[in-house]
């Protein structure tokens, strides 16, 4: 602890403690002092109070659902609610581990998660590098376009993929078969991995982009002049320096892949490929409707344990934070790497990716929204297209209400989450031991599947005398709880990049900590914060399980409407029309954030 305090990055973290403050006050109050000499200290106290309040709020948001989760996991509540059952048991866990599928599922999950993370990591690192670090032609336009589909729920995306690439009549599969003679089966582990990987790219790209954008070019140049080729210097210099960003992004995607249900369900069920999330889903959504909360919570606890492992790994990797300080106050430059004669070949590859991964699914979605009934893209059915579905959804009296709800929920959640995430990231970087503890604590809900988290929040507010049940605020609370750990990690990785000297020089110039934070740290972290905001906004737009679970008659959102259309009446065309609406919303916000958040000098 002593050494941590003495280290360059946290020169006076301990100044926050009351003893130090009183010491300071005595020293400055003794001589005939100007009248406002102790005003800063009152301000300090107010700030400490505010900090404590936020810390308590965060702890509350995290600890209660977590407590609920552990409590439920120890209840054998197959057909009842956890608190209707006396006594505790480990039965849920023994049931899980004695399931005959446990090995198969574990192996499938491992392959699926690893594959998804690798696919998404490779693609998004490549895109982040190309868009943020090089002079790739058209990057201003391509970068936002890769983010556009972020708000489309996975279910809709998976169906779009099925339509586009199913082996029977998907135009993409047919095209590939014609061109290369290969028959691709999307209903397979590789197919699931590919779709889930591509689905994860926007989120990952958003996490990685600021990390890459901030990297001082000088480090790469030093390697280039030492004779290291592009691959070597990327491997040995660029990637290690962006390690915190990459591992945070990989972790995020690992849990997304672990809990994502729609893709394994739609692409895995046909060939009976089960992964972990299928089990959670089976426990939580049996046909009878009576969820086995005990078992679902036990799965949640297992994921919490898994996230403990991830905390350990992540902490280890970012422990020596000075290793990632790449934004310094000397010779900082970040002009783009020149691709030279690779410019156009690389652009072609990127365009191809955008075509396959973004354009085709979106095109399929738009196509579906214009058709009377679900059918793959083909010239024959061109004549049947109409805007009837749009007419139908806009005639739906609940839509206006749902749009308002959705916007309020997404805006409030994004803002709240970005704010709390920023606070938490700062606390972990600058707030000493308590801050880091809180940061790690928030991590515990990182991996809790959203359905399980939603149930915990549901129970909590049904029984607490806080009147949020049935309103949009319960959804805001649940989503905020869910996204804060992710958001804080996104922001923390960019704080790790800042050299302490940048802050120090501000304080030596006489600016208070708060001012330095506002004027130096925040502007430098701003790209990460705005992108985090965008990520939360888009994900909140499209988040389904929590919205579904907590939805009542007054707080229904657009995705819930969308789900209704798919759920009982299989009306994918109308659902697609709604998805196109979500797509437009998220594309609009991507455009807006990019326009505002882009800094010319970087």
């Amino acid at each position: 602890m002593r050494t941590a305090v003495a280290r360059r990055g946290s020169p006076s973290a301990h100044l926050e403690t009351p003893t130090m403050q009183s010491g300071t006050r005595v020293a400055t109050a003794a001589p005939p002092s100007p009248p406002d000499a102790d005003r800063p200290h009152r301000r300090d106290r107010v700030r400490t109070g505010v900090n404590i309040a936020i810390g308590v709020l965060l702890a509350y948001l995290v600890l209660f659902p977590l407590g609920m989760l552990i409590y439920s996991s120890l209840k054998d509540s197959e057909l009842k609610l956890p608190f209707q059952i006396p006594g505790f048991t480990l039965g849920n866990f023994t049931k899980i581990f004695s399931s005959p599928r446990v090995l198969e599922v574990a192996l499938n999950s491992l392959i699926f998660v690893t594959g998804t993370v690798v696919v998404a990591l490779v693609i998004s690192v490549g895109l982040a590098y190309l868009f943020e670090r090089t002079d790739l032609p058209g990057r201003r336009f391509l970068a936002p376009s890769t983010l556009a589909p972020m708000a489309v729920p996975a279910t809709v995306m998976a169906v779009a993929w099925v339509l586009a690439a199913n082996p029977a009549n998907g135009p993409l599969a047919i095209l590939i078969r014609r061109v290369s003679g290969l028959s691709v089966d999307i209903y397979s582990l590789p197919g699931m991995i590919l779709v889930a990987g591509i689905f994860g790219v926007p989120s990952m790209y958003l996490m990685l982009a600021p990390t890459f954008a901030r990297l001082n070019l000088e480090f790469e140049e030093a390697a280039a002049t030492s004779g290291a080729g592009w691959l070597t210097r990327t491997r040995k210099v660029v990637l290690p320096l962006t390690l915190p960003g990459m591992s945070a992004a990989a972790m995020l995607l690992a849990v997304i892949a672990l809990e994502e249900f729609a893709i394994p369900s739609i692409l895995g069920t046909p060939d009976q490929i089960f992964v972990f999330s299928s089990l959670v889903q089976a426990a939580l959504q049996p046909p009878s409707g009576l969820s086995d909360y005990g078992r679902a919570s036990a799965y949640g606890v297992l994921l919490v344990l898994l996230s403990l492992v991830m905390i350990a790994v992540y902490r280890r990797q970012t422990r020596e934070s000075h290793r990632f300080r790449v934004v310094g106050g000397k010779g900082y430059r970040s002009s783009p790497v020149r691709l030279g004669r690779w410019r156009y070949p690389v652009m072609t590859i990127v365009l191809l990716y955008v075509l396959v991964a973004i354009v085709i699914p979106i095109l399929t979605l738009v196509w579906t929204s214009l058709t009377p009934y679900l059918q793959p893209i083909s010239l024959d059915s061109l004549s049947g297209l109409s805007f009837a579905n749009y007419g139908a959804i806009f005639a739906n009296p609940s839509l206006t209400h749902a749009i308002v709800n959705t916007l309020v929920i997404s805006l409030v959640t994004a803002t709240l989450t970005a704010g709390l995430g920023l606070w938490l990231a700062l606390a972990s970087a600058r707030g000493g031991r308590a801050g880091r503890a809180l940061f790690d604590l928030s991590f515990l809900v990182f991996a809790v599947p959203s359905v399980v988290l939603g149930v915990a929040v549901l129970f909590l507010y049904l029984f607490l005398p806080i009147p949020v049940y049935g309103t949009i605020w319960i959804i805001v609370i649940a989503l905020t709880t869910r996204y804060v750990p992710r958001a804080s990690r996104m922001i923390q990785t960019s704080l790790l990049q800042l050299d302490g000297g940048l802050e120090e020089v501000g304080r030596v110039s006489g600016a208070r900590r708060g001012t330095v934070l506002r004027r130096v740290v925040l502007p430098l972290a701003a790209p990460a914060v705005t992108r985090t905001w965008l990520w939360v906004f888009a994900n909140a737009l499209g988040e389904l399980p929590i919205a579904l679970l907590l939805s009542s008659s007054d707080n229904r959102t657009v995705v819930v409407l969308l789900w209704d259309m798919i759920g009982e009446s299989a009306n994918y065309p109308e659902a697609s029309a709604l998805a196109v609406l979500l797509l437009a919303l998220s594309a609009g916000s991507v455009w807006w954030v990019n326009r505002r958040g882009f800094q010319q000098h970087m």
Binding site: L81, S265, P270, Q272, S291, L374, Q375, S553, S569
Partner: protein, 329 residues
């Protein structure tokens, strides 16, 4: 605190009490558009009571009601049960003397449930992909090697097999044997029947399990889908009930009674939602398009008549999953 059950004995008293409540909140697993005519008819007949409708899947409804009742904060007045959600819903329903509100006796189920529409399961095929000559005529026709390897789409939880537990002539043992043989064809499994339906109508799989109203809806929009003459089949009943502790108990009762009445049924039938006879009976084939379609295809059907059947289904489905090889746990 939930209001006490109304002491109304007849519809007039009930309407008075309901009007005082002013509102009724109805949750059911159907798109709002399909329910709109019935809602409008209700609001016209009983002015002063507004209906707030929410579409929610049946299992989600049970979940929500279960939790809300435990917390003493039920948020809706009319709920829905059918198939496997019937058993858990039994305890959640308020005790109502439906006969007093002029619900026909054969639509009252287990005292507190009201039968309002049926969802017959059928086998459907894509008319573009399957020539009329090869359409299976019976359950055994489904086992033809022609459908081997993902050509046949079924719902993996086995609900399409309900009729094997229902019809003595078929029998559960034969059903399990059938399921095992079906499993060997490597069907294209889906999580639920609606997904199977989209697979068929979009031409991805030529044939599979389906629900008759989905087939009829898409057919009306021009989709190349038709009902295969595979029978007998199960016509799943859906019931409405008023949850214990609901916020507008009188209005809930009033709406339920209305939907069960001939007026309500007349408003519902247009969207393929209506009661049908418990056994194959083609006398209303001309007026009821669901019955018409079943009769045209020559599919025989059964509906549940006894609460014990639901327990049989609940026991049977896990065995079907085992036989198919689709059990998750």
């Amino acid at each position: 605190k939930p209001p006490p059950a109304p002491d109304a004995r007849n519809l007039a008293e009930l309407y008075r009490a309901a009007k005082a409540e002013g509102q009724v909140i109805w949750f059911a697993p159907k798109p709002e558009a399909q329910m709109r005519p019935a809602i409008q008819a209700f609001e016209k007949k009983y002015p002063g009571i507004s209906v707030k409708y929410t579409n929610k899947k049946a299992p989600d409804l049970v979940t929500q009601l279960n939790v809300e009742q435990a917390a003493g904060r039920v948020s809706f007045d009319v709920s829905n049960a059918g198939g496997l959600t019937v058993l858990p819903s039994l305890d959640m329903a308020a005790k109502v003397d439906w006969a007093g509100f002029r619900v026909p006796g054969d639509q009252i189920f287990d005292g507190n449930f009201v039968y309002v529409w049926a969802v017959p399961k059928v086998w459907a095929y894509n008319t573009d992909a399957v020539p009329a000559s090869v359409v299976p005529r019976n359950w055994n026709g489904l086992l033809s090697p022609r459908w081997n390897g993902g050509k046949l789409t079924v719902e993996s939880r086995g609900s399409f097999m309900t009729v094997w537990a229902q019809d003595r002539a078929l029998g559960t043992d034969a059903g399990l044997d059938f399921a095992a043989r079906l499993g060997r064809l490597h069907p294209h499994y889906t999580d639920n029947t609606t997904q199977a339906h989209t697979n068929i109508s979009s031409g991805q799989t030529p044939i599979g399990t389906d629900l008759i109203n989905l087939v009829l809806e898409d057919r009306a929009k021009g989709a190349p889908i038709a009902v295969a003459p595979v029978g007998p089949t199960n016509a799943n009943k859906a019931y409405l009930f008023v949850p214990e502790g609901s916020p507008h108990p009188a209005a809930g009762r009033l709406l339920t009674a209305f939907l069960a009445s001939p007026e309500g049924q007349a408003a519902l039938v247009g969207s393929y939602n209506s009661i049908i006879p418990n056994d194959t009976d083609c006398s209303q084939a001309a007026t009821n398009r669901v019955i018409g379609a079943l009769c045209d295809a020559g599919v025989r059907w059964f509906s549940e008549t006894d609460i014990r059947q639901y327990q049989q289904f609940a026991d049977f489905f896990p065995q079907v999953e085992q036989a198919l090889g689709t059990d998750v746990n």
